[in-house]
């Protein structure tokens, strides 16, 4: 069998592809792009929530929010490691993020304006992430699949926490309920955009499905998400800001309105409310830390030298 045939057979037989296995260049490239984007999303995704850690209303909420944002940093690390097994160094991927060349999830280009946004992000955004990510636990590339198993466990914990924040607000005062409703009004549509463009416009879907990197199309996942979230919103007593939302017994799912695709593409291309702010924050952290990274490297080198001298003496 040729390399190509062995690879195809593994994909068909659901045998994981491992770093040392032969793989088509396009498969490697697709994975590097997807995993690095995913890692960047975890890292940039820390910023909108970090914005509220110092203002969390109780000490318990402060600790859980901080732990959550810390988990996201961990997700970034697992994913960068998985990406490095494909031959892409982390430093290069980060340079691409900082220069604006690499993309990350557009959801993080929206601002967090109230405490209810912490609930809504956990509930809706982590909820959408779970739907995207659970199938990735069975994705064809081994290191990616294994990273996703760890990530998914923590994401479901995040979603429960977010829902719990929403529940406290919805059971609270009129101000708190209004805060919760305002948050879902602002986050609902951007969250639906997280599943990516419509299938007809998604260039990458077909190949990714063939290689079993992806297992569901963008539209399938979006439908699943709406069907999952409507009852939860009803339980909370919140209104989903979509006049076209209606149960459709024939398809056993909800019909819903169309995403504002013009806004979607504008935000993807850099015109969202926080694109510049997020990239500036990442760049600032990176630049201001340059002397620390240099010093750590210089010290490690000195030490290695001293140990060598010590060993030969």
């Amino acid at each position: 069998m040729t390399n190509e045939e062995i690879f195809e057979k593994k994909i068909q037989d659901e045998v994981r592809i491992e770093p040392k296995d032969w793989m088509p260049e396009a498969y490697r490239k697709t994975l590097i792009r997807q995993i690095s984007q995913h890692a960047h999303s975890e890292v940039v995704g820390m910023l909108p929530e970090a914005n509220w850690i110092t203002r969390a209303p109780t000490l318990r909420r402060k600790a859980t929010l901080l732990a959550k944002v810390q988990d996201e940093a961990g997700h970034g690390l697992y994913l960068y490691s998985a990406m490095e097994t494909l031959g892409m160094p982390r430093s290069q991927a980060i340079d691409d993020l900082l220069s604006g060349k690499a993309k990350y999830s557009s959801i993080f280009n929206y601002p967090t304006l109230s405490w209810a946004d912490m609930g809504t992000i956990g509930w809706l955004v982590d909820g959408a992430a779970i739907l995207n990510q659970v199938p990735l636990c069975r994705t064809s590339y081994g290191p990616y699949a294994r990273a996703m198993v760890r990530v998914c466990k923590e994401e479901s914990f995040h979603q429960r926490q977010g829902f719990e924040i929403m529940q406290s607000l919805c059971e609270g005062s009129a101000d708190q309920k209004a805060m919760a409703q305002d948050a879902i009004n602002r986050w609902w549509w951007p969250t639906l955009m997280m599943f990516g463009p419509r299938d007809a416009e998604s260039g990458n879907t077909e190949l990714s499905m063939k290689w079993r990197i992806k297992r569901f199309t963008n539209d399938e996942l979006r439908q699943k998400f709406v069907d999952m979230m409507v009852p939860q919103a009803q339980f909370l007593g919140l209104t989903i800001p979509d006049e076209k939302l209606k149960w459709n017994a024939d398809k056993n799912g909800y019909d819903f309105g169309d995403v504002d695709w013009d806004e979607f593409w504008k935000v993807v291309k850099g015109q969202g409310p926080c694109n510049k702010q997020r990239l500036e924050a990442r760049n600032k952290a990176h630049d201001q830390g340059a002397w620390v990274r240099e010093a750590a490297a210089a010290y490690a080198e000195k030490r290695a030298k001293r140990e060598k001298i010590g060993a030969s003496a």
Binding site: L59, A73, A281, E294, A295
Partner: protein
């Protein structure tokens, strides 16, 4: 208020204010691994603060953990001045952390021998965490002090700048004197020498110089703070102050 409540609040405020300062780094650190490490330290400190506030709440009998954290003002907060100093660059954050970590560990080791059961119980858990904090900050002091010319200069500058706030740790306040007399805690002066030695040992390895002047600033324990605390509290307490009496 009695001395034990005041002292417990002082301990709670110490951990909360430093934890809050470290929270400001979250998402903005120079490398992911250190973002995680510093969030860990912040989580430990906030966890310890919660234990102390819960104990203070029991002693107080009226106010809850969050009332004590979120509804006391600047003149009621009793944290060390050192801990409310702004983060500055990483060198400044590190110097502040190092001076405190070493003190904090001696303090907790003293609490392990306290006749007060709650202080002892909190210390038993916290001492393991703070041992790790000391290791983390000592290693970074050495790494940056003995790193590049720039890191050495930045860290020496930070040490010189932060030094003036370190004296307060060893000066017993009225509530501490009361507890010392009742043999609930030792006089913090008793571990000043050990602190000096440990600081000197690490600074020497880091090729840094210990400042010569006597650090004399104090007041935090009595609620007399620097201008920075007001902003920390304004931010931290904003929701509880805007929407009083709600559950979150």
């Amino acid at each position: 208020m009695n001395a034990l409540t005041d002292y417990t609040l002082h301990l709670a405020d110490n951990q909360l204010i430093l934890g809050q300062r470290l929270c400001e780094w979250c998402g903005h650190n120079f490398v992911l691994e250190q973002d995680i490490a510093m969030s860990n330290i912040a989580l430990d400190l906030i966890g310890q603060a919660r234990s102390y506030y819960q104990y203070a709440s029991k002693l107080d009998g009226k106010k809850s953990e969050d009332d004590l954290a979120m509804l006391r003002g600047e003149r009621e907060y009793k944290n060390l001045l050192l801990l409310e100093q702004p983060n500055g660059d990483f060198a400044n954050t590190l110097a502040r952390q190092f001076f405190y970590d070493v003190f904090h560990l001696f303090q907790l080791e003293d609490h392990l021998k306290s006749s007060d059961e709650s202080l002892r119980a909190i210390a038993e858990k916290a001492v393991k965490e703070v041992r790790y904090h000391v290791t983390w900050s000592s290693e970074w002091m050495i790494r940056l002090g003995d790193g590049t010319t720039e890191s050495h200069a930045r860290l020496q500058h930070a040490v010189n700048k932060i030094w003036m706030w370190t004296g307060e740790m060893f000066e017993a306040s009225a509530f501490e004197k009361d507890l010392i007399e009742k043999k609930i805690i030792s006089n913090p002066k008793d571990f000043k020498l050990s602190w000096d030695q440990k600081i000197q040992e690490i600074l020497t390895e880091a090729t840094l110089k210990l400042p010569l002047e006597e650090p004399y600033q104090h007041g935090g324990k009595d609620g007399l703070h620097t201008e920075h605390l007001g902003y920390i509290l304004a931010e931290m307490q904003s929701l509880q102050r805007t929407y009083p009496g709600l559950a979150w």
